[in-house]
């Protein structure tokens, strides 16, 4: 519609201030990517310890260690993105509860506390029962920690592309993708074939569902809003087209293919390649989706 309007009026901005640059850039991409791994591996650990407790007991400590590392990477990038990072404590002392940022900060703090409790249980007390009990609560907290970024994107009213239903699905799928990929890399050949198959299926299905959502946005998004159509031009022949498709191939298409091949050939090696590709591609696809709505002039 905008295209036709411009053709009819030949309206050109002839004097204005320069547009603001990217507000949320690669630091926020790192934030989302690290969080996907930090919570995703907890989801997968919960599943594996319930379904295959005897074959996956050894993951307890490495899982909590990886989650702690990646959640702290997420927190680090969250804080350094603040223009006044030393006022971070304001979130806890002047909380505004309508903000997804506040909710996310509180939830992430609780999540870190639970992770430290799990680490204490398995490393200091060697108490697997306590670890598993804490994991039940940690996995519940992992859900809002995963989803709050979708809420934040949805609250970014200016950016029409980000809608809560699709973004929340994308966040959960990203966590499952990253979590299963990291678990595949963590387990080496220690996992039984049944566990490997389960991980492959989770990775493949998460990649497939994510890809379907992106394609649905790409095709049907422009039909709903003029702004979405304008934003998607950046990945439909625009300056982010190549990067978008690199992300889609590496995060979703290649892992899907390799998962199918690995299941057919019983090849764990292919599964590891799929896992690495998914983790790298996830960063790229997240970054493109984060940046493109910010390229559009708001006024």
């Amino acid at each position: 519609m905008a295209h036709e309007m411009i053709a009819a009026s030949n309206a050109i901005v002839t004097l204005d201030v320069a547009l603001p640059g990217i507000v949320w850039g690669w630091i926020i991409t790192m934030n989302m990517w690290a969080k996907s791994i930090g919570t995703g591996i907890i989801f997968l650990a919960f599943y594996l310890l319930k379904k295959h407790p005897e074959q996956t007991g050894f993951i307890r400590f490495p899982v909590v260690a990886i989650s702690i590392v990646f959640i702290h990477i997420f927190l680090f990038f969250t804080v350094i993105d603040l223009h006044q990072m030393f006022r971070f404590w304001h979130i806890f002392f002047y909380p505004h509860l309508t903000s997804a940022i506040t909710i996310g900060a509180w939830m992430a703090t609780g999540f870190v506390g639970m992770l430290l409790g799990m680490a204490y249980a398995i490393y200091m007390k060697k108490d697997e029962a306590l670890y598993d009990k804490l994991l039940n609560y940690t996995v519940l907290l992992a859900v809002p920690v995963t989803l709050y970024t979708a809420g934040l994107m949805a609250q970014s009213t200016a950016r029409e592309l980000w809608q809560m239903p699709t973004e929340s699905a994308q966040m959960i799928l990203a966590a499952l993708l990253a979590g299963s990929a990291m678990m595949i890399l963590l387990g080496g050949n220690k996992f039984s074939d049944a566990v490997k198959k389960d991980l492959a299926i989770v990775l493949g299905l998460a990649a497939a569902a994510s890809f379907i959502l992106y394609m649905a946005e790409l095709i049907f998004g422009p039909m709903k809003a003029e702004e979405v159509a304008a934003v998607l031009h950046y990945v439909k022949g625009g300056e982010y087209t190549i990067m978008f498709w690199i992300g889609q191939v590496m995060a979703f298409l290649l892992p899907m293919t390799l998962v199918c091949l690995s299941l057919k050939n019983q090849s764990y090696y292919l599964l590891k390649i799929a896992a690495v590709s998914a983790l790298v591609g996830l960063w790229v696809s997240k970054h493109v989706w984060l940046v493109i709505p910010q390229l559009l002039p708001m006024s």
Binding site: I12, A18, G21, H83, R87, T102, Q155, S156, P297
Partner: protein, 212 residues
């Protein structure tokens, strides 16, 4: 009391007096603006027309910036102004991302969010915002929307059918109105924005907060 703003675009001549007055009054740093006037040229030579649109914070009743702010640095005053507490702001830029009008920026000196406050400090002293005072053609009209006898209420009543707000579909309920506006002036997607046609010819994008 609900303070509001109205700009009669038929009167505005693009002198940018309001822009400068705002800069001076609020000590707005270089490379940032609380209020700016955008020029859009329409038509093809010789049938051309230049339009001028002053753009500032809309002081929405349902402000996305206020909602997303994690520390209530953005807050409502009793008179409806969406104000900002720069001492509390943590510079997360959530408000910059949320504002559909692109009205919020990160102040490169304080590294906190900032925007038009309708000159809340002047209003508190019963003075008009500096942009209103500076306008040579009285295109800026400011007052209490709840008072049917205020100049802004009367102006809206006498121009019913020709009063617009920006991006009504966002549901922000803005308290900033335009008379004589149209798609070209109020919809940023309705005009082409070619690189180089801005105040700083070679600068097409400004760094947020002076870095990043």
């Amino acid at each position: 009391m609900q303070l509001g703003f109205l700009v009669d675009l038929r009167l505005c001549m693009g002198c940018k007096g309001c822009e400068i007055a705002c800069k001076v009054e609020n000590e707005v740093p270089l490379s940032t603006w609380r209020l700016r006037v955008k020029y859009v040229d329409v038509g093809a030579f010789p049938e051309t027309k230049r339009t001028f649109t002053p753009l500032r914070c809309n002081h929405c009743a349902n402000a996305p910036c206020e909602r997303i702010c994690p520390v209530s640095a953005l807050h409502y005053l009793e008179n409806g102004i969406v104000n900002i507490d720069k001492e509390r702001c943590i510079g997360c830029a959530g408000c910059v991302m949320a504002c559909p009008y692109g009205a919020i920026y990160i102040d490169p000196q304080t590294q906190t969010a900032d925007k038009c406050t309708y000159c809340a400090h002047r209003v508190a002293s019963s003075m008009m915002p500096s942009c209103v005072v500076a306008c040579p053609v009285e295109a800026n009209i400011f007052g209490d929307l709840d008072d049917p006898m205020s100049s802004i209420s009367k102006y809206i009543q006498s121009h019913q059918g020709n009063v617009q707000v920006r991006k009504v579909e966002k549901g922000t309920d803005p308290h900033h109105f335009y008379v004589g506006g149209g798609n070209v002036t109020l919809n940023p997607l309705a005009s082409v924005r070619e690189e180089g046609h801005n105040l700083f010819n070679n600068i097409t994008h400004l760094p947020v907060g002076g870095h990043h």
